[in-house]
């Protein structure tokens, strides 16, 4: 207990309180100005908005990917299984550079969309793509154990009781996956909100347009505005706490339904 608390304090709590302390060096109006000026608000909106969209996309494709991995046999399955984890392992800057190159107007994928006037890299759309990339494994890996548990016999039981396929999916499979699914989406969202490395290359980082909140912190640091950087950090921190609270609430709810 004592050891856990000491380590937790050293590694997590003290740095976090230092951030809050730094932010409190300003007067309250200064704090509000630094936290909620137009540029910061745009950055939050992009960070949270893009993270939310990315989490939803991952929610849909994550459930399909996990289902395919659990239920079907196909060639190179273990390879695909490994690739899912790549966003966990890859240095985020590498992912960012790769994505930026691919989706730039002259890149392999970007070039396909350029004639239609759709720009992906250096726009909020690019941000969403980068955040989707890093979030997918969270949904897949959270769902997998639950799906594996949800043995095929539950579906067969529903079928033998006269349920059609639609009823089975709607009333048996999805409700059973629900808690894990929400947890996975929330984890993907939380990760995407804080993501930095893979986004900054593809985002273009134009103030008021494609600038994410973590980048804004870096920019303020480079301008020696430590209090301003800490202020934005405090806002992000508050939202992260809220997210973790929600995730834990979902998990507690899931536990109540039992193994």
């Amino acid at each position: 207990m004592g050891v856990t608390l000491t380590i937790l304090s050293l590694i997590v709590l003290i740095p976090l309180s230092a951030v809050a302390l730094k932010a409190s060096e300003q007067t309250f109006p200064e704090f509000l100005q630094a936290a909620f000026n137009e540029r910061a608000l745009t950055a939050y909106r992009l960070s949270f908005g893009a993270a939310f969209i990315a989490a939803i996309i991952n929610g849909v494709f994550g459930v399909l990917t996990a289902w395919a991995l659990i239920r079907y046999q196909f060639p190179f399955k273990s390879l695909v299984n490994g690739i899912i984890d790549l966003p966990f392992a890859l240095p985020t800057a590498v992912a960012g550079i790769a994505l930026a190159t691919l989706y730039a107007p002259n890149g392999w994928i970007g070039a396909l969309f350029a004639p239609a006037g759709i720009k992906i890299a250096y726009t909020p759309l690019g941000v969403v793509i980068a955040l989707t990339f890093i979030g997918l494994p969270f949904v897949v890996r959270t769902l997998e154990p639950v799906m594996r548990d949800l043995a095929a016999d539950v579906e067969e039981a529903a079928a033998s009781l006269g349920a059609n396929r639609f009823d089975t999916i709607l009333r048996v499979i999805l409700p059973a996956l629900g808690p894990a699914w929400l947890t996975g989406i929330a984890l993907a969202f939380a990760r995407a909100v804080g993501e930095y490395g893979s986004v900054i290359f593809i985002a273009g980082n134009m103030p008021y347009k494609s600038e994410i909140a973590p980048l804004l912190i870096t920019i303020e640091l480079e301008q020696y505005d430590y209090a301003g950087a800490a202020t934005i950090a405090v806002v992000m921190l508050a939202v992260s706490f809220l997210m973790l609270f929600v995730i834990n609430a979902i998990q507690a709810w899931a536990r109540r339904l039992g193994q």
């Binding site: 043995a151 016999d153 539950v154 067969e156 039981a157 529903a158 079928a159 033998s160 009781l161 006269g162 349920a163 059609n164 009823d167 009333r171 048996v172 409700p175 059973a176 629900g178 109540r256 339904l257 039992g258 193994q259």
Partner: protein
Amino acid sequence: MTISIRSVEKTFGRYPALNGVSLEIADGELLALLGPSGSGKTTLLRVIAGLEFPEKGQILYGDQDMTYTSAAARRVGFVFQQYALFRHMTVAKNVAFGLDVRKGQAKPSKSEITARVDELLKLVELGELGKRYPAQLSGGQRQRVALARALAVNPSVLLLDEPFGALDATVRKSLRKELRRIHDATGVTTIFVTHDQEEALELADRVAILNKGAIEQVGAPHEVHDNPVGAFVCGFVGESNRFEGAVKGGRFQSADIALPAPGVTDGAAVAFVRPHELVVAPADQSNLNIVTERIAPQGAVVRVDGATASGQRIEAAFARQNAGDLQPGAKLSLAADRSYVFSA
């Protein structure tokens, strides 16, 4: 509902699971499909349920051909070894599921469903637990819920796949009696799969013994035990000592024992003697000599483990009062009251 299975064949990849199985199940009968793992018993049950479809042959419910009808349309009650309950639903919701998913006219009213659920929970003696979730129940209680859920739809046939396999011995025994009681109360035709011969012999009206995707013998429990048709059934049902040898002129001879074998053709053969059909005999009338190793009194019987001169293991069981003074490590002369000999 009578069920007719006619020359059903089913393969998984290149591995044949059912090799032309035919079986008639009478209305209201309680039948056990008994066999070792890989014998095809579960596959046969799933084919009857419509969870698998055969490549050849026919499945009839009454006189209606159901061979390629889906499970959903067959109105079967299926109970799985691992319960397969819907864990996000309460016990009552689980039981009601089969009625809840009915559409339009066929769907009973809310109050009818509630009444039916209450009645079934009473039948399986879970009257008070309707509001619980499956995670809050013991294994035995979960299997009762699964049974009630399967019965809710008034199934034409109740199918159970190793229903007691995941339960501990005490619960298994009481649930076995329970299933017999529920079967007698509802009269629904019931087929259950098991690899546990004790379960099959105690519970079923008739037992079908499967081996390698084919039925070896169908009969009442005492028939398959007392009059096995072949070496497989004899070795699988009940305990036995197995001897390999040869028959010549109506006598079986192995290294350790000589037995009468009337009507068995000459050649290689196997013989079986059940432990309780071995008796202690005076040396001159004995046809099996062993050295005892372990003497274990168990209730009314004494179980004796030993070995013959050639190293063959022998098990014998004597009534306690006839056992006399048995000592481990002593020589013991035995005679077989009854034996079974089959051509190999």
